[in-house]
Amino acid sequence: MSDPGAPAAEEGAMSGEEILSPPLPYRMGPRVERAVRDVRLRQFVENAAELKHRGRVNACRDAFGERYDAVRQLAGRIKQHTLDHLDHYLDRFTAAATAAGAVVHFALDGAEANRICLGLAQEQGCRLVVKSKSMVTEETRLLPALEGAGIETIETDLGEFIVQLDHDAPSHIVTPMIHKDRKAVARAFVRELGAEYTEDPRRLTIIAREHMRAKFRRAEMGISGANFLVAQTGSLVVCTNEGNADLAMGAPRVHVALVGIEKLVPRLEDLSVFLKLLARSATAQPLTVYTSIITGVRRAGEHDGPEELHIILVDNGRTELLREPTRELLRCIRCGACLNACPVYRKVGGGHAYGAVYSGPIGAVITPLMKGLENYADLPRASSLCGACFQACPVHIDIPSHLVRLRRELVSRRVEGLGKRVVMRAWAGGMRSGLMYRAGARVAKMVLRALGEGGAQGGMTDRRWITHSVGPLAGWTSERDLPTPARVSFREWWRRERGGRGGEGGVGRPRGGT
């Protein structure tokens, strides 16, 4: 456990770059271990995620009641339809957006998206860029690309801003600094902004507001993502609670939006479904405070708004996911509900354990698909397959079945180690025949009972506990005790009591039971 006086999040001192782009192949173990031992961090993340999870459940129930499942299936169908005809909707969007005065760019990968964006900034002679939160720019690592070229770039979402000041990495899709407390913020503001030390969240927020207002007024370029693209009108739809996107998109002379091609929806009216679900799923609100629908550039007679709007449509692996059977994963609207619902995400101290931009259940599926299963083999296994993510998903993505499919692929592609494959094959053999099962169970019982130590405990007369073991069981018993098998197995007991006949009525109580 960490020193209780020390900040939970600054420990480890990895840079954001190291957190999100670790050496490959990535192993979850070390980070999970560190997070699990950091009790404060773990409780902090767990409480925050639990609170958001309960908020979502209540908000969806209060709004839709019995209809909720049908509504999220409808949302899933609309997105699926759009993806099934993505060629059509990309053309339609491009036509409408260019008609409204936007310049549309197509980027095949993250490096190209960054190159286009940097090129625009340099063309315009930009020295200061204000940026609103965008997952796709995390994915392309746009910030270091701009800063590396000497262009001052400010993240304006408060959470992202603090993460940027600390050279840290976001740990949640919606609330990027879910892993940081107010002390960490106070220290960052003293160190980086020369502010006076305060732990009052209101005063901290005002410090950030004043700092960033000056930047909004001077910036030559604003960068945003988009939550949706409307094919019908060529519009960007951007949702925030802080209003930073409206300043970033409205104040500078040039607006650049980087958007994944999967963000399309056909019509304005589809937004009714998605906006209602997105805000409730993410933060339990009926709508985000600001939902901004931006179409084209400043028009004749208008006094303000950007003179140039560049929309960079980003592939970066999405056309691979668009193939079946992974197409439905592109429905994801990045609400973060599956992260909050996931018992694993909560226990491993949040998103950093996943070693990539997208964390939690959705990250456990799309990260291996986008960056190589062999590089992220641990991720599909970091799930109990409890199904909470599927239940939480507002666009009805069956995440558990994708996790299972990836696990199957790990086996068939022999990414799994030899030891595990042998054990699993033996297990499969044992489960297929009664004889093998009985023989296996007998051996296992003998071994496990031999490992057991300590005397009789509780009501289970002869049950003993394995507190330390070696070999493949060492990992399990390092965190918890394993009960030894009962002296008489249920099958043996059944045969003795019922003579293999299995009479009618209830089953008698096993000897030694309660």
Partner: protein
């Protein structure tokens, strides 16, 4: 309106080729007809119907979202605006209002409260609005279901009036209140019609003052946008105040 373009047709071609390959389209198979998207089923998605008490519902939800609500009759808009400006200690403000009685009421109310109405065009871009204490706007509509104001930009309405100054005052005629978000897209001029005007450059649904809960989940208002949003509902039944 200036016309845009595709910046890199080669990139577009390659990306579209990948998309079509992933969708299993065959070469030269250009004429795939896209069926109509699934219908947005009213019986599932609509949360508020056009029943009585819609204006009251809007006021309740706007209040729950953290906005300060006021009601007045047509004749007392000037007085109500003056009271809000005075209560907020506003010394200068910008407006995003068309010519007509609303802007006259704002000008007169400002005079009464000793607040100067500053033309947002007096400085380039949004700069003038960074200097003032409040922005007064009208709305395209208001939405009862979520307590939402819908504000737009055009030749008389800045993109900044609702977001840049620390106080936003929205004038909401009672007959502009719609029951549900579903009803918004049917209004003219928002880009929904086949051959109608393009969607506004900026159409923003505002549901509360600027908020953040990034620091330990504690709710703080006024992080980037206004810390206070006043909603003045004008007219409607039993509205004289």
């Amino acid at each position: 309106m200036s016309v845009g373009r595709v910046a890199n047709p080669g990139g577009r071609e390659e990306l579209m080729r990948r998309v079509r390959a992933a969708l299993g389209r065959r070469e030269g198979d250009a004429g795939v007809v896209c069926p109509a998207p699934p219908e947005v089923d009213e019986s599932l998605v609509r949360l508020v119907g056009p029943e009585e008490g819609m204006v009251e519902g809007f006021i309740a939800r706007a209040g729950a979202a953290g906005m300060k609500t006021h009601r007045c009759g047509e004749g007392s808009l000037r007085e109500t605006l003056a009271n809000v400006l005075r209560a907020e200690g506003v010394r200068s403000f910008c407006v995003g209002l068309p010519a007509g009685r609303m802007i006259e009421a704002a000008r007169a109310g400002g005079r009464d409260a000793g607040a100067e109405m500053v033309d947002y065009r007096s400085l380039p871009g949004l700069q003038a609005q960074f200097e003032v204490d409040a922005g007064i706007t009208d709305v395209v509509a208001a939405i009862a279901e979520s307590g939402t104001l819908v504000v737009r930009s055009d030749a008389v309405r800045s993109r900044g009036a609702f977001i840049v100054p620390p106080v936003h005052i929205a004038i909401v005629p009672a007959d502009s209140v719609l029951p549900d978000l579903m009803d918004l897209w049917r209004l003219d001029g928002l880009g929904g019609e086949e051959s109608g005007p393009a969607a506004p450059t900026s159409l923003v649904l505002v549901s509360g003052p600027s908020k953040t809960a990034d620091i330990e989940g504690i709710l703080i208002t006024g992080v980037h946008g206004p810390r206070d949003v006043h909603v003045v509902v004008v007219g409607g039944v039993s509205a004289e105040c």
